[in-house]
Symmetry: C2
């Protein structure tokens, strides 16, 4: 497939770097300021090098990339809430041209799911977004396989930064502020960690799950009940530990509700992954409980999920 990658952060760059290994050509690569387009396939090393050294990917612009030659648009710009712009405009640009879209950006499918599905219905292109929930873990594909009708609940630990902080707090008996500073030093947490620690990122993933599981209702972040981990004292984790339990930030999607908050879970249960690991638990009607776990974030990990979606489009 010919891939246009919009967004040149860790995820977009990893897609560009790995696409060739999966048998695809990158024919366009753009960030907000510049773009490189080549119908024959970009010289990937040269483009990534220019991005690193000059801060731009090429001499073309975003519009050239969106209107250029590609089969699949990979949307990997940062998440925005509300109107989900400019991601939504990029999705529309591809679908109105009857091209496929693979999303790494959660915004469009969390905040404007109905609009995305409507644009898709009028297009020859399809929209896939496995990477938006749990990185490389097979989450949406498992829902497709089991069938949304046959899943009664989904619970998940879906933010590696938060999970790293909670794991360290429990293991070392340290307070939130202390562990957060450590996580920032390690590059596991952002300088402004609010999107993660307040539960927003986890909630967006829950909203996407609710959209996929629901037939007739559209969810947005406003529909989620969200508590973060900012106010958890280290002493709570110590108390929990004495009882063989620990605390995890869990999203639950069940009976039309999306709830995110810190929950007590048994220390060694499937819902208590350690470090930056994520996990998702499906309650199914006929097949009991299914669990998947893995690394839910990171450039190559997320790129791997994106390229799996591209492969799916290629085979279909």
């Amino acid at each position: 497939m010919r891939i246009a990658v919009i967004g040149a952060g860790a995820v977009g760059s990893s897609v560009v770097e790995l696409a060739g290994e999966y048998g695809h050509d990158v024919t366009a690569f753009a960030d907000s300021r510049s773009a490189a387009v080549d119908a024959e396939g970009l010289d990937v090393d040269a483009v990534l090098d220019r991005k690193r050294t000059d801060g731009i990917v090429g001499d073309a612009d975003l519009e050239d990339a969106l209107s250029g030659p590609y089969d699949v648009l990979v949307e990997a710009t940062p998440v925005t809430l509300g109107d989900a712009e400019p991601g939504m405009t990029h999705v529309e640009a591809a679908l109105t041209r009857d091209r496929h879209v693979v999303l790494a950006n959660k915004g469009p499918v969390a905040e404007r799911y109905g609009d995305v599905r409507e644009l898709e219905a009028d297009s020859e292109g399809r929209v896939l977004f496995e990477a938006t929930v749990g990185g490389a873990m097979p989450v949406l594909s498992t829902i497709a396989d089991v069938g949304a009708d046959h899943i009664t609940a989904v619970r998940g630990v879906l933010n590696g930064t938060v999970n790293f902080v909670l794991s360290r707090m429990a293991a070392e008996g340290l307070d939130y502020e202390h562990v957060l500073a450590e996580a920032q030093d390690l590059g596991v947490a952002e300088t402004d960690p609010s999107f993660d620690v307040e539960g927003t990122d986890t909630a967006l993933k829950g909203v996407i799950l609710a959209n996929v599981l629901s037939e007739d209702r559209e969810y947005t972040l406003d529909d989620a009940e969200v508590d973060g981990i900012v106010d958890i004292p280290g002493s709570v984790l110590e108390l929990a530990r004495e009882d063989g339990r620990t605390v995890r930030l869990i999203v639950e999607v069940r009976e039309g509700e999306v709830r995110v908050g810190p929950r007590l879970v048994p220390e060694n249960a499937a819902l208590a992954p350690t470090g930056t690991y994520n996990t998702v638990q499906f309650e199914t009607e006929h097949a009991g409980q299914l669990n998947v776990s893995g690394l839910g974030a990171g450039g190559p990990e997320t790129a791997s999920a994106i390229l799996a979606d591209v492969g799916r489009l290629d085979r279909s």
Copy 2:
């Protein structure tokens, strides 16, 4: 889709029972002695009832079912080794008629993978077999998504009977013979448990994984190195426990080798599921470690995987 189900054990009967819920019609149902065929869709309750009360499913025979009206043949007869007959003949009957095949029976894809792929290449029909490895767990679909080329190793606990026995031995400090008798009473182990406890069933699943992961080599049970759990004394599990470890029957597929045997694993690790739970761990090139776990056997659980395959064929 119109489904013909061959095999009327727990799995075949569950497929017949659940197919309607997934939007499919069962147009044929056969065991080795009898069959029921109806191009308009069988009266499922009546057929299952007749099987229970009279021991036959209908007045037609297997040949009528194989040559009857269906889009997908579900092969759910018992596993046989070597020539994988009569399963292989059923697979051939469907493929030469350009129909799809969904396997619950491990025989054809473990013992005659090359023949299956050759028949498939000459047919309009496709062969899917998610249910043969880990029941409802998304194992083969995860390999397809990640890409066989990008998976460096697969390890799994893939036999619920064995895992139940090992879990009970560890939890209660009981010997193998004692726990086996209990498992037989509970219906978790067969009267002749050798297929499970000697590691054959686990090895067949490993061989199927090796076949799916390999591009150019065909594996059969003869290629696997297999140790079972028959000779493990309860005292080993006690010793392991004192060290925070336990024993699991693990299959590993790596670098062209399939190995099955009891292994020491950390007590709470992903590779130490309890009870009848199964787990599979994928080592990937770009996405770290992915784990899936769930119930690997059982009528409705396995039927759920079969109907996921039927759904996949329906969408493709």
